[in-house]
Amino acid sequence: MKSAIFYLGNQIFLILFDFLKNWYFSSFSIWSRLVISILEKLDHYLALKITLKYFFAPLYQSFDLAGYLLGIFFRGFRVLTALILYAAIILIFVVGYLIWLLIPFFLIYKAFIQNG
């Protein structure tokens, strides 16, 4: 019987431990995978990496001054848009994740400290 009670206590401990582990550690990989997946999908259209690679290439194969200048101008605009958008997405996720991390603390505070 003693070993059964010990096992039971261990299982309950593990259940609580797993909850905290999932909430604080596993969630990080979930959140980060989600944000990377969104950024990858967006990059298929905004093409930040490719645009940077061909930043100084003439626009639409126009090997004249206009082609080069317009290429820099339009690509620059696109790079800036992509950077702002990506930064915003990352910021939203970081803030969201921080809120996520604080939720249990917030609840404990509200339950046991603030409202005594």
């Binding site: 070993s3 059964a4 061909y54 609840l107």
Partner: protein, 838 residues
């Protein structure tokens, strides 16, 4: 290098049964109390209780989300160290093991049998068994019966060891199948490696192939995953292709860096495969990895980045090119080909409605656009069409386009067929030198099975019919064996689709292997299915059936019957024709007759016989009359005939008279069952029976038989004599050399009787005439129709002269009418036709 060491340790199994029961119930009560507490606290007005309720709520939600997951995930398994498999078990797998363990401890018997009983409750396993065309309920029943008589005893330690052994295998299967946890299906599949005698016995009884089981389970898992991924409108028409091909679509997925120019004119005469790949979301490839890698290497090189695929229609060349488009849109491609468009030129559209000048203008604009764009990989399907001389415009197109393709300004992919390659492209050396040629053969049976398994997913969705894995395997096997006109996987895919449509039309909800066999048999004249009881009876009685139409020649009949029985039971040698016989003996003794009977029995009709008189092929040049001339002016009589009738009997009369080079041709045919004609096409003889006849040394047969020897006694000596006419290696390749005896007068009488019966039957069917005859007629006709030198050959002429000809005259004169009954009599050596009333 992996230094993982798996083990299984769970203190739960070391507890007594009562303790286990106690723990399970306490945990359940704990959660019920938690749920109630959450509900009550959330309803409470007290703010602190409310927040406690919220905390409990998120705990419960997290628990529910993780309910079907193990503690740890297999994709995060450490690369080394000791790993406790208990943490990677899914809750269902854990429950199944615990239940089987407890049952075994309480009731005794085999742990594996009890575990299987429990595992059959899981839908994934049930479905896998059903896909193998086995009823799960019957297997369950058999296991239950086996357990009744099972008095095996296991201690706790024994059981834990067995569990550990099983899980060590199951974890590898789970990892291989891409699972995050060890699932019940992985445990079920792991049994193949455990080799428990009791389980093996049951699986053998139901012919559950454990090798296939693992594949079926992995596949069922993929199927469930695929269901979530697909929206119906995106369903591709076929694997490797795309559902919608948009001609001249403006949307351009590639050129994301804006470095390439648009190609508005080209778009009118082409379709963009990269666009289609983007929409179709498929273009995956099974097999052909070497050809694909080679293509990438060639297209990526700076100099002459041009490739032409050479292969028969249906080998999968388009699949390789579609896969290229797919990999480009997924950015999984070499840097040189990054962000490029694969554009297929439609030569037909290019030429349509254009005269010479217009065509020239079109081509100039298109190729200027391609060069200017800088991101085009041009795909020219059936590139040999550029060189076909039919029509002036084709000639012009070749003149204009070839130099542009050779220039190497942009990568080009062309496709062609072997015959057209030899005929049109190879002779054109300046064109040929600019390209790398990649030969594409059909994919293997294993790859075809994988391909077809994925195709079956689509067919199931489209036709709402359950397709068993055996049906898929049967389609591949039958297509490989019997349908050689089209290569794998196309031939197997066509057969499977036909079977699905036929099954759907007949209202079936499930497609089994037997139905696929039935569908295939409707196309060929050979029985493919395992012999039914009736057929088995017929095969065992084949000698009597043949003797209904052939007189004497018992040894010959026994030999051919034996060969056919071996073939139908699947025991004949694989790779060559069904059988190759050399019929030797005097003229007119039944060699051709036996060949005709064999044709009827095996292929359904005498019309399925291809007959060649080898005495017409006595010089070397006549080889081309058999296999066709290299330039194609003369078609091959043999090769064309077999291509047209792949299921037939090939009769080679007077075989010894053929030129030695022609005889050598048959070495390959008898060995591999294949012959390559002059244009490079492989002609398949694997579904033919080959019967060669010869009169060589028939005097020896006659004299030996007259001296009192029997066939068996003279056979060996006769074979040695045959070396004068045929090479030893050719003689060795025959399934059997069958000696035919001379016919006696008694035999001729019997043959005459048979021939007369045939004529009676024919007249009854066609003219509604009843014909009767007595022994005197048989006697008379056999007398005039017999010749000791020519055997029964003169008999046909005798019957024609003395019976058929006068009968025909009387019918035409109206002396004999339809519905009359005629008695044939002999009077003073003359045949009389007397009308009788019945």
């Amino acid at each position: 290098m992996d230094n993982k060491e798996f083990y299984f340790k769970d203190p739960f199994f070391r507890l007594g049964l009562a303790s286990q029961f106690f723990i399970k119930n306490i945990l359940q009560v704990f959660f019920i109390v938690l749920v109630f507490a959450c509900f009550i606290f959330l309803m409470s007005d007290a703010p602190n209780l409310f927040y406690v309720g919220v905390l409990i709520f998120i705990f419960i939600v997290d628990f529910i989300i993780r309910y079907d997951r193990g503690r740890l995930s297999l994709d995060q398994i450490p690369q080394e160290g000791k790993i406790n498999l208990k943490n990677y078990l899914s809750p269902k797998a854990s429950e199944a093991i615990i239940f089987a363990y407890q049952e075994t401890l309480i009731l005794g018997g085999s742990f594996y049998l009890r575990l299987n009983k429990t595992l059959f409750d899981f839908q994934e396993i049930n479905e896998a068994i059903q896909r193998m065309e086995i009823k799960p309920a019957e297997v369950f029943q058999r296991i239950s019966e086996a357990l009744k008589d099972d008095d095996e005893k296991n201690s706790t330690d024994d059981l834990i060891q067995k569990i550990e052994e099983l899980l060590k295998v199951a974890v590898l299967i789970a990892i291989k199948g891409g699972s995050r946890y060890i699932m019940p299906a992985d445990i079920f599949a792991a049994q193949k490696y455990i080799q428990d005698k009791k389980i093996i016995k049951i699986f053998n009884f139901f012919q559950i192939n454990l090798n296939d089981l693992e594949g079926v389970i992995i596949f069922s898992r993929f199927r469930k995953h695929l269901k979530k991924e697909y929206i119906l409108w995106q369903l591709p028409k076929f694997i490797g292709g795309f559902a919608n091909v948009f001609f001249g679509a403006r949307k351009r997925t590639m050129n994301r860096a804006w470095t390439a120019r648009p190609t508005s004119f080209l778009d009118k005469f082409s379709y963009d495969l990269t666009d289609s790949a983007e929409r179709g979301k498929l273009g995956f490839m099974v097999g052909h990895t070497k050809e694909y890698e080679r293509m990438i290497n060639v297209l990526s090189r700076p100099d002459k980045p041009n490739v032409i695929f050479v292969g028969e229609p249906g080998v999968g060349i388009k699949t390789i090119i579609n896969h290229l488009a797919y990999m480009i849109i997924k950015d999984r491609i070499s840097e040189t080909l990054f962000d490029k468009r694969v554009v297929a030129l439609d030569i037909g559209k290019l030429l349509s409605g254009a005269d010479q000048t217009e065509l020239q203008a079109r081509i100039n604009i298109i190729f200027k656009e391609i060069s200017a764009a800088g991101n085009i990989i041009l795909y020219v399907p059936e590139i040999h069409n550029l060189f076909k001389t039919s029509g002036e415009l084709y000639l012009s197109a070749a003149d204009l386009i070839s130099p542009l393709l050779i220039s190497g300004d942009f990568p080009t992919i062309g496709t062609t067929y072997p015959q057209e390659f030899r005929q049109f492209i190879k002779p054109n050396s300046s064109f040929a030198q600019a390209f790398e040629f990649i030969m594409v053969e059909e994919i293997s049976e294993e790859d075809s099975t994988i391909f077809l398994t994925f195709s079956s997913l689509m067919l199931e969705k489209q036709y709402h019919i359950f397709i068993s894995s055996k049906a898929v395997k049967a389609a591949v096997y039958i297509a490989k064996r019997y349908f050689h006109q089209k290569p794998l996987p196309g031939s197997a895919g066509d057969l499977l689709k036909e079977a699905v449509i036929s099954a759907k039309r007949q209202g079936f909800k499930k497609l089994t292997a037997d139905f696929v066999v039935e569908t295939a048999e409707s196309y060929v004249n050979v029985p493919i299915h395992k012999p039914t009881a009736l057929e088995a009876e017929k095969l065992l009685n084949l000698e009597n059936i043949i003797h209904q139409e052939l007189i004497n020649q018992e040894e010959a009949v026994i030999a051919v019957s034996r060969a056919l029985r071996e073939y139908r039971s699947g025991l004949s040698r694989k790779g060559g024709p069904i059988a190759c016989f050399l019929f030797v003996g005097p003229t007119g003794v039944g060699k051709t007759e036996l060949a005709k009977i064999l044709t009827k029995i095996n292929f359904g009709s005498e019309e399925m016989m291809i007959r060649l008189d080898m005495s017409e092929y006595q010089n070397k040049e006549s080889l081309y009359r058999l296999i066709g001339s290299p330039k194609g002016e003369v078609i091959g009589l043999l090769t064309e005939a077999v291509l047209e009738k792949p299921y037939s009997l090939v009769l080679l009369d007077e075989f010894e008279k053929a030129h030695p080079d022609i005889l050598n041709l048959f070495l390959q045919v008898f060995d591999d069952g294949r012959l390559t004609d002059s244009s490079g096409r492989k002609v398949d003889f694997q579904n033919t029976i080959i019967a060669a006849t010869s009169n060589a040394h028939s005097d020896f047969i006659k004299t030996s038989l007259e001296a009192g020897k029997n066939i068996e006694e003279i056979k060996e000596e006769f074979k040695r004599k045959l070396v004068d006419c045929f090479r030893t290696e050719l003689l060795n390749r025959f399934s059997d050399i069958i000696i035919f005896k001379t016919l006696s007068k008694e035999d001729i009488k019997k043959i005459t009787f048979l021939q007369l019966k045939k004529i009676c039957f024919q007249l009854k069917e066609e003219q509604s005439l009843e014909l009767f005859f007595g022994d005197d007629v048989v006697e008379h006709l056999s007398e005039v129709g017999y010749d000791s030198v020519f055997g029964a050959r003169p008999l046909r002429k005798a019957i024609s002269n003395y019976l058929k000809a006068p009968l025909a005259e009387k019918i035409l004169k109206g002396e004999i009418m339809k519905g009359d009954s005629i008695m044939i009599k002999i009077d003073a050596g003359k045949i009389l036709f007397l009308k009788i009333t019945l």
